[in-house]
């Protein structure tokens, strides 16, 4: 596995990596990023670069995650002296710090009031709007969080992060239609994000299991989006996993509908269900790909170790369960 670094941390940071990252705090904090020499010399001998502050920001987040509040405070102070109290980003980071230190709902409520005040002064501060949603979410006020997010998106409808968050909140409320709509917006902004395709497929799958009748159409769409996600990334474990699960669920439905009626096809001209043979083939394909990933991961082949442990385990369990049924 690659060594985690603070400049370009992985998009999903598992706890051990976060710990490793936050343990880099002492050496970074011991050296000053800005030079202490007088003005003309400080320009020449400064080692400051944009990367310095990216590292500081990531260190700040990692320290907060691992409970190293003292280092976090130091990093935050350093960034505040550099960029000033009123930088939009610094305000948001300070908010994160206060949220992390809040011990109970009451203190969180205070942080929330602080955000309201900032927003009254400057309604265009979108980072604080997002923090506000996060606080509402951790207070458990999901409907309020949804309202706050819809206001945000009304004003800034090209924010993929916010759309994804809203989709997740809707999915929590079992509002599948809205969740799907939001993820489609994400796809409109980032059409090639295979993770978004897989997430959308998952939502379709979940919405299919929520309703009892007419599961064929959502499952078809789910299958297609999983197909697209692995078409974009052929090493995407979650995509193959989903492909296998969905196609297994689709197979009995398809054989049923093909024997019972043909009229469904003309009705659903929009999304014709896939052919039975190709679904079968897709299932085989997913199985073989998953088996290969598991094998390569376990034998620690070069270039195959980047998968998350938990996902590989889940895939193995899926294949094992499958094997038992067939046996």
């Amino acid at each position: 596995m690659l060594h985690p670094n603070l400049l370009t941390p992985p998009s999903v940071i598992p706890p051990p990596v976060a710990l490793q990252l936050s343990q880099k705090a002492p050496p970074i904090l011991s050296s000053s990023p800005t030079s202490s020499l007088p003005w003309p010399l400080s320009l020449l001998f400064s080692t400051e670069s944009p990367e310095t502050w990216t590292i500081h920001e990531n260190l700040f987040l990692a320290s907060l995650r691992t409970g190293d509040d003292v280092s976090a405070r130091k990093v935050l102070d350093r960034m505040t002296t550099r960029f000033g109290e009123h930088s939009e980003r610094i305000i948001a980071l300070r908010g994160i710090y206060e949220e992390a230190l809040a011990k109970n709902d009451k203190e969180l409520e205070q942080v929330f009031q602080g955000y309201e005040k900032i927003l009254r002064e400057d309604p265009t501060n979108f980072s604080i709007r997002k923090r506000r949603v996060a606080v509402l979410k951790s207070l458990g006020r999901i409907p309020d969080a949804i309202t706050a997010l819809t206001v945000l998106l009304e004003n800034s409808p090209i924010d993929a992060e916010a759309w994804a968050e809203l989709s997740e909140l809707y999915a929590r409320q079992n509002a599948w239609g809205q969740a799907i709509y939001c993820l489609e917006e994400v796809l409109l902004i980032m059409p090639n994000a295979w993770t978004a395709h897989a997430q959308l497929a998952t939502l379709y799958y979940l919405s299919a299991s929520a309703q009892s009748s007419n599961q064929l159409q959502p499952l078809t769409l789910s299958l297609r989006h999983f197909c697209r996600s692995v078409e974009l990334n052929e090493y995407y474990l979650r995509g193959f996993y989903g492909l296998k699960v969905v196609s297994r669920k689709l197979l009995p439905l398809l054989s049923e509908s093909s024997t019972s009626s043909k009229r469904n096809n003309s009705e659903d001209d929009d999304t014709p269900p896939p052919k039975l043979e190709s679904v079968k083939k897709l299932e085989e394909l997913a199985t073989s790909k998953l088996a290969e990933i598991i094998r390569q991961y376990n034998s620690r082949t070069q270039g195959w170790t980047g998968f998350s442990e938990a996902e590989v385990t889940a895939a193995r369990e899926l294949l094992d369960a499958d094997g038992k049924i067939e046996r």
Binding site: P191, N192, E231, L232
Partner: protein, 109 residues
């Protein structure tokens, strides 16, 4: 239309393309300057000098093709013909002329 759909199905990542172009153009600029040094020191004049440059860039293209692109330019360039073989040939010309003149002036003074 067909090509457009093909691109949509297997998209090209813009940052990777930029990175590749950057690497190739760095190689070209550096080697062009070195060819200038060589041509100036050898005392090449007018046409032989330019032919020297063309042959040199061709060799560099071949080396990029064999070493950096591992013989499969279509995996690294969107349009291998233009991006690897053709387009960048004249970008290094100005730095070639610069070092060529400098070293010609110094050596043949």
């Amino acid at each position: 239309m067909n090509e457009e759909r093909e691109l949509a199905i297997s998209p090209i990542v813009q940052t990777s393309v930029q990175h590749n172009t950057q690497v190739v153009s760095n190689i070209r600029n550096l080697t062009a300057s070195l060819f200038g040094v060589a041509a100036g020191t050898l005392g090449l004049e007018s046409y032989p000098g330019f032919i020297f440059y063309l042959v040199g860039t061709l060799i560099v293209s071949l080396l990029v093709f064999a070493v950096r692109a591992e013989g499969k330019p279509s995996e690294y360039f969107h349009r291998p013909l233009g991006d690897l073989w053709g387009g960048e040939v004249f970008s290094g010309l100005s730095s070639f002329v610069l070092t060529w003149t400098l070293f010609y002036g110094l050596v043949r003074a």
